[in-house]
């Protein structure tokens, strides 16, 4: 009889233990694991980081080895206000147990309005930026760290301007004028040398369209059009420089500079300025870098930190895409 009782007690004890383990397994799903906290931090981080380009009127797309940066110069919005509004909305829409902050490279907290260019294309250390690294965007600037890096990619540029060319480049017979400074309507001085001296060189294509839909493009040798028989230029000596005259304006010019000695100068400079260096037109730009690898990313030199106040864990990283 003792045996039976003892057997039953032991059996019940094991059943109890089993049920305990099973209930622990069931309740495990309601405990917030470190992985779930991390997933939440990553989600909020990417939520913010992926919006930053559109808040500064830039669109960045990657397609295998091609990186395209679409831009508006100068911006049609107040970018400081836009950044501040975005931060306010993030604070509004983020749960109160998460703290969002931006940090400069010295890891000091800065306001979101302290988030500045350049867009760094890494690991190549190519910088896509504007004068004084601010969002005024009066010019488009691309810096390359050295000639050997620039020699390894090509650049494809498409610009749309909100002004009218002095003449239609698709009708070359109308484009024979000479401006007061001695330049033509579409004037290269100096011209790209098509890599005459050998590498290092930068390969390029260029297309500029005005508000009448007239397009000047390089390389182009179509009969009847203003020719542009260039597709590359050396990374030494003087940079190839294009100047395009604007209709009914003796001072507003579209200016484009590429290549030359890049030790202390940008690889690319595009601006639409008058004689007083004020912007005199709006440019929508599409700049495509074609690399021979897809292993690259674009980053801003500001850290974003998302801190979970409950667990005191955080995700801190550069804002990148």
């Amino acid at each position: 009889m003792k045996g039976v009782v003892f057997t039953l007690l032991t059996f019940m004890l094991f059943l109890f233990l089993f049920e305990l383990v099973a209930s622990l397994a069931r309740s495990g799903s309601s405990i917030i694991t470190p992985q779930e906290i991390n997933k939440r931090l990553v989600n909020v981080f990417s939520n913010i980081a992926e919006n930053i380009p559109s808040v500064v009127q830039v669109n960045i797309t990657k397609n295998q080895g091609n990186l395209t940066i679409s831009d508006v110069l100068p911006p049609t919005i107040n970018i400081s206000s836009s950044l501040q509004a975005f931060q306010n909305f993030i604070n509004f829409s983020t749960p109160s147990d998460l703290n969002i902050s931006f940090l400069n490279p010295s890891m000091q907290v800065v306001p979101i309005t302290g988030l500045n260019p350049p867009f760094q294309i890494l690991p190549f250390n190519i910088n896509y930026t504007y004068p004084s690294n601010n969002w005024g965007k009066t010019q488009q600037l691309v810096y390359c760290p050295n000639a050997s890096t620039c020699n390894n990619f090509s650049i494809h540029l498409n610009y749309i301007i909100n002004q009218t060319f002095q003449c239609n480049p698709q009708n070359a017979s109308n484009c024979t004028g000479v401006n007061s400074d001695g330049s033509n309507e579409f004037s290269w001085n100096p011209q790209p040398d098509n890599c005459a001296g050998g590498p290092p060189c930068i390969n390029f294509t260029l297309s500029i369209t005005d508000n009448q839909g007239h397009t000047y493009s390089c390389p182009n040798s179509l009969p009847g059009t203003v020719p542009c028989p260039f597709n590359s230029t050396s990374l030494s000596g003087n940079a190839a420089t294009l100047q395009i005259a604007i209709l009914q304006s003796s001072v507003c010019k579209f200016k484009f500079t590429l290549g030359g000695n890049i030790a202390n100068a940008p690889l690319l400079q595009m601006r639409m300025l008058d004689n007083n260096n004020n912007t005199c037109g709006l440019v929508l730009s599409n700049t495509t870098f074609s690399f021979n690898t897809s292993s690259f990313y674009v980053s801003l030199p500001t850290y974003l930190r998302v801190l979970d106040l409950n667990s005191n864990t955080s995700k801190t990283d550069f804002i990148f895409k």
Binding site: F6, T7, F14, L17, V21, N47, V55, Q57, A85, N88
Partner: protein
């Protein structure tokens, strides 16, 4: 006496086996966890594709009546045959010139019917910013996509 020890021995063996089975069930991902992950990934991927093809900027100026059939189609074509879902787009604008506060302007949705309340629902959410030339025409969206198995069951 022999029977007694035999019983004890057998019970201990059964107990060890049961504990071992319970331990395995705790430490290995269950089918339910796999299904939850599958639904979450489906919701996240749908959100990413709809972002890339411009769905959320397209509906920005739509009424709820205009947006519903559009969002229905956009979401349905992305979901696997055994998964249903709902997309909700809350459009906010600034309430003041500093954009310190926000007003819910519009709630748009595309919806499949959740047939039973027992369905496990997975959620993906993202914020989108559409800055304008002034605070009056700056908009923000909170997009939520919910997914669940249409049979209430499994992948």
């Amino acid at each position: 006496m022999k029977g007694f020890f035999f019983s004890i021995d057998a019970l201990i063996a059964v107990g060890v086996a049961l504990s071992f089975a319970a331990l395995i069930s705790v430490s290995t991902p269950s089918l339910q966890q796999f299904n939850e992950y599958y639904l979450f990934r489906t919701a996240q991927s749908s959100l990413a594709v709809m972002d890339a093809d411009g769905t959320f900027s397209t509906v920005l100026n739509m009424t709820a009546f205009q947006a519903k059939p559009y969002l229905d189609i956009q979401l349905k074509q992305l979901l696997p045959p055994n998964v249903d879902g709902r997309v909700e787009v809350d459009v906010y604008s600034c309430s003041d010139s500093n954009c310190d506060n926000f007003t819910l302007n519009n709630r748009l949705f595309g919806q499949q019917v959740l047939s039973t309340t027992s369905n496990k629902v997975s959620v993906a959410q993202r914020v989108f910013a559409y800055p304008g030339s002034s605070w009056q025409n700056s908009y923000f969206e909170i997009v939520t996509i919910q997914t669940w198995f249409d049979n209430g069951g499994f992948a």
